[in-house]
Every structure is written in C-alpha cells, then in structure tokens.
C-alpha cells in the first residue's frame, strides 16, 4: 500500500506476520458502499489511529473485524483465523476486544461486576452457572479498576458514572478480556481536555502489551498518540503514514482536514 515508513511503537520487521490483515473489504447496505475495497495491515504490538470524516466507514470496519457485519467481498484475517467465518463470541475468544462508539456498559451492575463479567473465563452457561468469584479474579478486577482510574467507584452502579468514566469502564471491560487487539471507537468523544489526556495516557499504557486500533475525530488526541495514522474516506484508505505525512497529503486536506 501507500504506507510511508514511520516510527510505530513496537515497530516490526517486514518479515513478521501481521496481526490483522484486511484486504479489499467491501460492504454495502442497500447498494450504498459503506466499505469499498478497504485494506489495512496491523503489526503485532502496533497502535494505529484511524481517522476520517463521519460516514467514512470506520465503525463499519470494526463491525467487520468483530463479526457483526459480514463483508460482501475481501479478506479479513487475524493471524491464521479467517474473521469472515466466525461469529462475535468466537472472535472475542480469539482475543479481539471492542469498545463501542456509544459507551456501552452494564448500567444496572456495579462497576466491579462489570469487570467481573468481562474477565477472561469459560463463558459457557453450564460453567457460569456454578462459577463463584475467586480471590484472583477480585485482584485482577481491582487491578484494572486502578488502571482505568475507577477504584473509587468500585461499588457504584455503572449507570451512575459520568460519560467519560463510562468510556474508561468500557476500556476496562476490554482489558479484563485480555485481548491481543483492542478496537477502540471514539474513546475521547464527549470528554473534557483533562480526561482526553488521561485517555491518551491509558491507551499508551495498554499498547505496551497489546495492539490497538483507535478511531478518533479529535486531532489533538491523535497528535498526542503519535502513532501511524490511516485516513479513511468513502469506505477506503485515502492515505496512511505519520500524522505529519497524511496531513500534508492534498487529498486528505481536501476531504477532511481542509473542511
């Protein structure tokens, strides 16, 4: 592709097998092409920012990766696994966690229970039916609470959290699953500047051990992440490279940054 060489966190040699490999993905809704030959390659350990105007197909891309939407054509591989053949639960079990654009947590459960339900474990009803909370699970949930700055809200109902805190809780939920790859859809939306900064920090820390794709509108946020950027437009990749590189691309300026 047209990827310019940039410094990525955990940058990897060419020979390394990609973690996520999307090739020529097309999705149409009633004839409207939400994704149009989208290709994207993510290396293990990489954090990627995906930007693009509203309706560019960013969320739809996440839908394809997580099995919510089946592509009409194209290839979607997570290591050796063909994502187009698996359902949501199987893909989650493979190690892909997803944060929704609209923060989605279990509002009627305590913050702690939200994490407990998300902890990596046997999800079969027969197992869950007789599961009791072990000390190690409590520890892990508490560890995540600390990481997402919600220790003080441990026993509160998730519905009581502020918008920003819900975003963090949902990121915590993802972490509890111990995924290899996190898909994070607009994490900074509706956050104060201070919260946005803390979110950047959080994602950086997460990226020390996991790969991340983060969709975001907020340019300050993307700049602060300082990772390779993919610009989507009308369902395909318009440009890719450092933020510096893509923001100088005249086509990008025309469709997105210039407006």
């Amino acid at each position: 592709m047209n990827a310019a060489p940039v410094a990525t966190i955990g940058g990897t040699p060419e020979s390394m097998q990609p973690l996520l490999y999307l090739d020529g993905i097309s999705v149409s809704f009633d004839g409207f092409k939400a994704l149009n030959g989208l290709s994207l390659v993510l290396d293990p350990g990489e954090m990627r920012a995906v930007i693009g105007p509203n309706g560019a197909g960013k969320t739809t891309m996440m839908d394809v990766i997580t099995g919510k939407t089946r592509p009409d054509s194209g290839k979607a591989m997570f290591r050796e696994a063909d994502l187009t053949q698996l359902d949501e639960a199987e893909i989650a079990a493979l190690g892909i966690g997803r944060k929704f654009q609209k923060p989605t947590v279990f509002e009627m459960h305590s913050v702690f229970d939200n994490l407990l339900l998300a902890l990596k474990a046997d999800r079969r009803p027969s197992r869950v039916l007789f599961a009791s909370t072990r000390a190690i699970e409590r520890e892990r949930a508490d560890g995540i609470l600390e990481m997402v700055r919600l220790t003080g809200m441990r026993g509160r109902m998730a519905g009581e959290l502020s918008h920003g805190q819900k975003q963090w809780l949902e990121i915590g939920i993802l972490l509890a699953q111990e995924p290899e790859l996190l898909l994070v859809d607009e994490p900074a939306a509706g956050m104060t500047d201070a919260e946005t900064e803390q979110t950047t920090e959080l994602l950086r820390r997460i990226n020390e051990t996991r790969s991340v794709i983060v969709v975001e509108h907020d340019m300050t946020f993307v700049r602060a992440l300082a990772v390779k950027v993919t610009v989507l437009h009308e369902g395909s990749v318009l440009a890719e490279g450092s933020l510096e590189h893509v923001s100088n691309d005249p086509r990008v300026i025309e469709v997105y940054l210039g407006r």
Binding site: M108, L116, L117, M157
Partner: protein
C-alpha cells in the same frame, strides 16, 4: 434489583410466605364447618388458583424481568403443563366415566374412537405424567427458542410470534380430532394419586403443594438471578451486543432460561388443573399470556417477589370485580396496565422497597430505572 436488596434472610422469609400461608389455610380448611376459624373450600380453591398463577408470573418475570424476553406466550406452557396433568387425571377416571370404558376417556368414546391414541400412552402413570408436565412445555420452548434466538429475533417481533404460538395451539386444541377433548377440554376428574379430588384434605394438600412449589421456585429463581449466571442475564437484558462482544453466546443463555421458565410455567398449569377441575383450550387464549405479563408489571418487573404479589393481587381484584361487574374487568385491567406503566414503573414492590434507594439515586439513574420498566429488549 430489589430481591438483591432483600438479602438472603429476606428472601428466605419471602419464600416462607407461600408455604406457611398455604399450610395455615390448608389446615384451617380442615376444621369443622361450624368452627370460627374454618376456611371454606372455595377460599382454598381460589388461593390455590392465585398461587398457581403466581408460579406462572414468576416464570414470566424470569425471562422478561431478567433477560428482557417479553414472552406473550407463556400461557401456552402453563396450559400444556395443565393438559399433561389433565391427561393423567382423565386416565384415573377408569370405568367411572359416563360410558364406563376402562381405557378410553368419555370424549373418545363419544367420538367413536376404538383405541387410545399413542400420545395418551403412559399417562396412566403419575411419574410419566409428571415428566411430561415439564418435558412438553420445555421441549416446545426449546425448539421455539432455538429457532428464534439463533436467528436473533427479539423485541416486539419475538413478542408477536409468542402470541402466534399460543394462538396456534389454541386453534389446534379446539379441534376434536387432536384427541384432547376439543372445546370441552378435559374434566370430570375423580382422583389424583388415589386421593379423591372432592375431599377437603386433597384440596388442602394440593394448595400446600402449590405453596411449596412456589416457595421452592422463588428460591431457585432468586439464586439463579443473584449468581454470576444471573448477572450475565441482566447484562444481556441491558446491553445484548456488549455481552456478545465479550464472548458470551447470548442465544444459549436465552435458550436455557426460556426453556427452564417454560417448565416452571408447566408446573404451574399442572397444579392449577386439579384444583380448578378442568382444562380447556381457552387456557391458550393469547389474552391470558398478556394478562400474566400485566401481573408482573403491576407487581414489579425484575423483582421476582413483585411477580408473585402482582399475580395474587390482580387476580383477587379480578375475582371481586368479575363477581360484581363482569363487563368492566377488561377495562380495569387495561387501565391498570397503563397506570402502572406511567406512574408505577417499578410496580407495587417498587413502591415499598424502592422509595428510599430511589431518592438516593441521581436523576440519571432514576430515569434509566423507570425507562427500563417496560422495554421489550434492547
């Protein structure tokens, strides 16, 4: 949830109520008729009916209140359990029927049938009938749920097809050639496990059995909903796709609970029939299933206790009103439903237990609590 706030002792206390009440009423009914404390037989029958309905309500609350499946067809599972019990009771009649046929129930003799249809085999044994009381509703719920949940039918669409299910069964059971007594249904029962159904002691025993089953299933449901499993159910109710993306197979959870709930409803029906003395296709009427949902809404959805309270109170009101002004009952029921939906989203139980917690909640959570009261699904 409210039953969560009840705590273990509170729940045990609640569970003790149906059992203690039925034992008390049952025993008092056995006192001589001139005793001041004597409870007349019709009270025993009425209470037994209410509590059988309460079991149905509990089963509805389990799927609607905790998983968000608004089943408008649970009356069908109740009726199927009732029919299974009715078939056993029919076969107990033996030669005491009008036609005196040792094997064939009267209606079959009347239809000139020569032999018992195969699906009536085994129903002369109580153990077999008992098995069918849970297996038939359970199997139907399993097949129905498997198809519906696998294709991710939910919300209003699911509610509508559950209505269609019970309606279709009603039409089928109305047919004489189905072999279930057509529109007359099954009746004229004589005895159950050798005990005369007309005897006061049998009536008292049936009442106590109903109370015991209700207590038992309340505790089972409470345990189920408080466990990790129950938390997954609530997670599915409130954010189905979030749960799915966490790796839970939502359809399997739904199927399991739906099937279990249908079995509970079936037991409710089986307890109902010998006390009422008849089962006919009108039990499948779509309106019955809707009524069961109203009991739960009135009592307090997602509270377990509320469903039982709602069933008893609404049916008591129905008994009183249909006795005096039968023509207004449906209007009262409809009005009640609208009133509860608008002004008492947490139902009767919510009025008592919810008030303090309610006030301590921020406005946002309050809104979520109320908003959730009647949503079918997500």
């Amino acid at each position: 949830m409210i039953s969560a706030r009840l705590g273990l002792y509170g729940s045990l206390l609640v569970a003790a109520v149906p059992l203690a009440l039925t034992i008390a009423v049952g025993l008092l009914s056995l006192l001589p008729a001139d005793s001041a404390l004597h409870v007349p037989g019709y009270v025993v029958t009425l209470l037994g009916k209410y509590l059988a309905y309460a079991l149905l309500a509990l089963s509805v609350d389990l799927v609607w209140g905790y998983v968000g499946i608004l089943s408008l067809g649970h009356g069908a599972f109740f009726a199927l359990g009732g029919y299974a019990m009715g078939m056993y009771l029919m076969r107990q009649i033996g030669t005491r029927g009008v036609y005196g046929d040792p094997v064939l129930p009267d209606f079959m003799v009347f239809l000139n049938w020569q032999e018992l249809p195969w699906y009536w085999y085994g129903f002369d044994h109580f153990a077999f009938a008992a098995l069918m009381i849970v297996l038939v509703p359970g199997a139907l719920a399993f097949v129905f749920g498997y198809l519906a949940f696998r294709s991710r039918v939910s919300g209003v669409y699911l509610s509508i097809i559950t209505q269609a299910l019970t309606f279709a069964l009603m039409l089928a059971f109305f047919r004489n050639d189905m072999g279930f007594g057509g529109n007359n249904g099954l009746t004229d029962f004589k005895d159950l496990l050798g005990a005369n159904l007309q005897a006061g002691s049998t009536k008292a025993g049936l009442l106590i059995a109903t109370g015991a089953f209700l207590s038992f299933f309340f505790l089972v449901c409470r345990h189920l909903t408080q466990s990790r499993f129950g938390k997954v159910l609530i997670a599915i109710r409130d954010a189905e796709s979030r749960t799915r993306f966490l790796g839970y197979r939502v359809e399997r959870y739904k199927l399991l609970v739906f099937t279990f709930s249908a079995m509970m409803a079936g037991i409710g029906g089986a307890l109902y029939v010998p006390q009422i003395g008849i089962i006919n296709p009108s039990e499948f009427e779509p309106a019955n299933s809707i009524e069961a949902v109203i009991w739960v809404a009135v009592g307090g959805r997602g509270t377990l206790v509320g469903s039982m309270v709602g069933a008893v109170i609404v049916n008591f009101a129905k008994t009183v009103l249909t006795g005096t002004f039968p023509e207004i009952w449906l209007f009262v029921l409809g009005g009640l439903f609208i009133f509860v939906t608008l002004f008492m989203p947490r139902g009767i139980v919510g009025l008592f237990t919810g008030l303090r917690t309610w006030r301590s909640q921020p406005a946002k959570v309050r809104k979520q609590l109320t908003g959730r009261a009647l949503e079918a699904g997500e």
